[in-house]
């Protein structure tokens, strides 16, 4: 009986005066400690980005100096001058062969690099390849939509540059003892002015092949569309020597 008044009192009490322990639904998060781990991937990606920025800046400076109106004419002098400028910037950067490939794809991303001018771009990539620490460089460019010109320019002795995909005009011009492998097609003026070394094209090659070449060998596993005025050196088409050999008129279709 003594308890009865108490019970009644309890019932009469408004909830605010007799608060029930309310459980915080986020209680568990109070003791939750978020474990964030630094993994080597973060460092690798960060350093890759830093190098890419440097390479990009070098290319932009090259364009500022050599293609002010975003127009660039392929001439002997412009090629030499642009390459010298590219060399100057490239020498200051520490990069790997993979950075060169990433740069090639970044060229097609207008968000990252606003202007892709195939001539200066090719010379810049050539300079990057020539000054890379690795003796052998593989560029997987099969998915690249643009065929870049002037790849393999002045490839020095002891370097091997393998390009997966097709290349544009003036591939491997002025090669200086290096070995250039194109695992696709190469366009016109391939190997022009090369001095020594080897160019291997796995598919077909365009007109003016080996124009003014002074030495070295060009091997084509597909068809040679036309030879240029060759001074010295050898050109093979499907293992058959086509220069020097029977008279094959330069720059003609056959």
């Amino acid at each position: 009986m003594k308890n009865l008044p108490h019970q009644n009192k309890d019932l009469a009490d408004p909830p605010s005066r007799n608060p029930r322990p309310i459980r915080n639904p986020f209680e568990e998060f109070k003791v939750y400690s978020f474990v964030k781990t630094d993994i080597p991937l973060d460092r690798i990606v960060e350093s890759t980005e830093v190098v890419m920025d440097e390479i990009r800046r070098g290319y932009e400076k090259l364009l500022e100096e050599e293609a002010k109106e975003l127009v660039w004419m392929v001439q002997y002098n412009t090629i030499i001058k642009a390459y010298e400028v590219a060399e100057r910037y490239v020498k200051e950067i520490r990069y790997s062969a993979e950075d060169i490939e990433d740069f090639c794809f970044a060229l097609e991303d207008t968000q990252r690099i606003p202007y892709l001018i195939p001539g200066p771009a090719g010379l810049y990539i050539s300079a990057l390849s020539n000054y890379a620490q690795e003796a052998e460089i593989v560029l997987k460019l099969s998915e690249l939509k643009t065929e870049i010109n002037l790849l393999g320019f002045r490839l020095p002795k002891g370097k091997r540059l393998i390009i997966e995909g097709d290349t544009g005009d003036f591939t491997g011009i002025g090669v200086e003892g290096g070995e250039l492998v194109v695992e696709g097609n190469a366009k016109n003026w391939t190997g022009a002015g090369m001095r020594s070394g080897k160019i291997l094209v796995k598919k077909n090659i365009g007109l003016h092949t080996g124009e003014w070449m002074m030495g070295g060998e060009i091997h084509v596993e597909g068809r040679v569309r036309g030879l240029g005025n060759i001074v010295e050196g050898k050109v093979f088409e499907r293992d058959k020597l086509v220069y020097p050999g029977k008279a094959r008129y330069p720059s003609l279709y056959y």
Binding site: T37, P40, L41, I44, D102, V138
Partner: protein, 544 residues
Amino acid sequence: MKKEKHQAILDEIWPRVKRKHLYPEIPMPKVGELGDSEEGAAGKDEGVGLEMKEKQMTVNSAFLSSLKGRIPEEQAIEALLDHGITHYTFCPWDFHTHVALYAEAKKVMGDKALAKRAANYFIDVVSDTHCVKKRFSDIPELHRSLKKGKVEEVIASLYQRIWGIDLGVSSSGKSGKGYEEAVRRLARIPYLDRSRWNESILKFCRTMKPLLLEEQQGEGSQGGKGESSPTGDHDFNNYSYEEIDEGMREYASEKMALSEFREMVEDFSEELKEAGYGMEGGMGRGRGTSIDADVLFYMKLAENYAIPLRKVLVEEKGTLHPHSHAPWEVGSPYQDVDIWTSFGKIMPGITQIWKKKEGKGRGRVEGTPDCLIAIDSSGSMINPRKSLSYAVLGAACASNAYLRNGSKVAVYNFSDAPMGGKDTLDYTDRREAIYRVLCKYFGGGTALDLDDLVPLIRSRKNLDLFVITDMKITNLEALISYFGQIENRVTAVHIGENPYAARFEKAVEKRSNINIFTVKRKEDIPNIILGKIREYFHSTHRGP
């Protein structure tokens, strides 16, 4: 017995795992015996460790038993759960991302099976790396204890490099020195940057392609059909019908490219059919016979546009009353939503709308008339099965608007109709049938056969007409004269300025029921049609 033991372990660790992943909305996982586990156990690998079907994870008991002595069962279960949950919470996250990753992979791999495999590897690398970085996980332990093929060994070498954890893979292993370059390339990819996944998977595939080709050739010579990933394969079983539907819609609107969409649908036709996509018997739940990718493209693309229709006074037998429930779709009228059965949520799959039915009696009430769509598919129009036709898209959007309001749509597709270049569909509410006729392309000249149109118009008391053409109709005068006699609302859309269009405009300028919209750029058709229709219906029909 083993199964019960594994289930008990899972029950014990599940709250901890769930908490670690910040309470994801997924059901309690189960332990079971998965289909190919015996085959796998007998073979060189352990089979599949985890299966995911519509968010339900099932851990393979046989797989756990096969790992005995190499990793404690508790650790293996936790690692599998971490892996599975991360697919829901990080990568691929949804169907659209999954398909987008696959489409990018296909660009490099060229082959459907290889692209699927490459995308699966990429998704696994992203998920496991996310787990290792963001959550304390036993995934490295699991990888250390798994038997590896050549590709798995390269992936494990990659993990060693990017996680900084020894997984017991040496450079002199099966992958050897030849793959050192591949690992170096793979390690440079920003796996955890979601905004760069499309670019990253291209890079990933470029490096993995020779390895996967080699693996495929090896399997081909052994007559194998390809290994399953020990942490489970990623197929469309992971997604519900609604998720797939939503993903298709997003994919269609993002790409706006018919050929890419068609390629994707064809590549995944089996999986989509499993999920309930099939034209026969309706593009809905239930297994059909074939998927018309082009029709599906316009269907999903049109779902991204919603046209509100202003009702008009129509004579009915009686007023409408709520009769039954139907699932809500994007674009369905909000006023018909039943908030009580929809739990206050507007979300496809949850929200329900009232289907209304006429009661007894007679009177004039607000309603939506049926619609006759006349679409020109002559040679001067774009072939909707070759590239995106804005004319078909516009007509599809208009038909959706009527169907959503419970009206029926008839289609008259014509080129040189008197010579047989035509297809007619009577009034129906079957969406796929309407789309099929809209997507037909005849080519050739343009002439209407009024004998086809008249019965379709006369059979209805209340009817809207929607004509989409370039107006280069040889018997335009006959059409003008016919339009001069009818009182129905007519929306005529013509492409470009030409003398025929000018003649039509001049002839019907005094007719208030006919509205003409000129589209100078074909690409503007969807926007202009939708905007103008909205304007038109809102301004001319103000209700009783």
